[in-house]
Symmetry: C2
Subunit: 234 residues, 2 copies
DNA sequence: GCTTACCAGCTTCCATGCAAGTTGCAACGG
DNA sequence: CCGTTGCAACTTGCATGGAAGCTGGTAAGC
């Protein structure tokens, strides 16, 4: 891993800065639950672990706080945020609204791009279908994530992309945890294809509605799971 | 609640930190165009002006960059971001989606809160109507802003509120500039009332659609204004 | 036994120093 | 006269130290 590219806004080409490294490393650690939610780390400790001084860690923590992944407690350390069912409800409200909008935008693209976008979305969905047959849940999850990311990215709205990225980072752990509990994998494939068809036909309203309904159904499946399993925070 | 505090995430009560001061001051300066877009300031200079050292200014700049208000150029200073018509298109996509969702959520509230919310929204709209009669454009703009902020806040979704806050900060200057150019003030009042009525009747779908259509029409009015006036960046 | 006050240790906040990178201009060579 | 090179000034990146604040445990007092 010579280059931990990225994680920045998006356009600045490349600049290997310690702050960026710290940001990427901490974000990854949170994603993988190396930093468990509720864990309270000191900047000193993280700095030591990453082999840098406290300053870049501190600045990365500010960014992560802005992303809603951690909270910097005034003089007590960095608290890894937990996600409660209530948070997931909030997150889904945002996803439902923005992904519907994204689907509508993609359906409104000029024909060439629109069909190319539809093909990419179809590819992800096909991967989901075969992963389901193989019983490969992680692959299914990755392809599902790919579909939704592609849908938003094809909309070509940088702010939309950024917001969805942030909200996805927040809910990533919950999605991973509940992946194995979900029973309605084929419904997702069917619904994805409905969205794709609407996009192909430039049916903006339909694409919006189908994408929206897909996410609403997913939420209605997921929220009870979280609450029944007593996952107060994860 | 008379609370001018703020600018922080939301829940931490109060802590007068220099970073917060710097963040608030810079944000305000950008809002008021004391820092004009395109202006490139050095952290040193801002630190001097605010009577603090570079560190808190630097950290505040990171937050502002996360908010999309400035760009921190690697070793050249802080650049105040300009807003192009293309940015406004992006911003409106987000607003259209999220405010529609917010209206739907408000319409889904239990009756007591729902009616209280509707009353508050109606108050703002009434203020707009009378400001229009008086020809008081700034008051009209403030009441309009109040309506939309209240709509989002009543939805009770912290993430929604935060995102809309950020996006509003980005577009504030553009709204101020174009306020005097807009001719369709009464349409806004009518459309607001349509949303309010739907909320009163717990008509979630209607509230969503009307709020959405209101913002779509506003966008279709605003974008040509920006482009015809050759406002490449503002 | 229970409450309260205090203190030691830990943590961040912020100022500042040094080094590295960028810019613009001036001087030099063609 | 024009293009190029080098230098000087200025900028931030990052490290580090001192100061202030918070926490938890302990000991004193009731």
């Amino acid at each position: 891993m010579a280059r931990a590219k990225s994680a920045r806004t998006d356009d600045s080409e490349k600049r290997p800065s310690l702050v960026d490294d710290a940001y990427a490393a901490m974000k990854l650690a949170i994603r993988n639950s190396d930093f468990a939610p509720g864990y309270q780390a000191s900047e000193q400790e993280i700095a030591l672990r990453l082999g840098m001084s406290r300053t870049p860690v501190h600045e990365a923590a500010i960014r992560l706080q802005e992303d809603g992944l951690v909270r910097v407690l005034p003089r007590r350390g960095i608290l890894i945020c937990a996600i409660a069912p209530e948070d997931m409800r909030e997150i889904y409200d945002v996803i439902i609204a923005l992904e519907g909008q994204a689907a509508e935008l993609v359906a409104g693209l000029p024909e060439t791009e629109r069909l190319r976008a539809a093909d990419e979305l179809a590819a992800h969905t096909d991967t989901m279908a075969s992963a389901q047959i193989d019983g490969d849940l992680p692959a299914w999850g990755a392809a599902d994530e790919g579909f939704h990311r592609a849908l938003v990215e094809q909309a070509g709205n940088g702010r939309l992309i950024r917001i969805m990225q942030t909200i996805n980072d927040q809910s990533h752990r919950a999605r991973m945890l509940t992946l194995r509990l979900r029973q309605e994998l084929d419904a997702s494939v069917t619904e994805h294809r409905r969205v794709i068809d609407a996009i192909r036909e430039a049916d903006a309203a339909g694409a919006h509605r189908y994408a929206r309904e897909h996410r609403i159904r997913a939420r209605n499946n997921l929220l009870p799971l979280l609450e029944n399993f007593g996952l107060r925070h994860l």
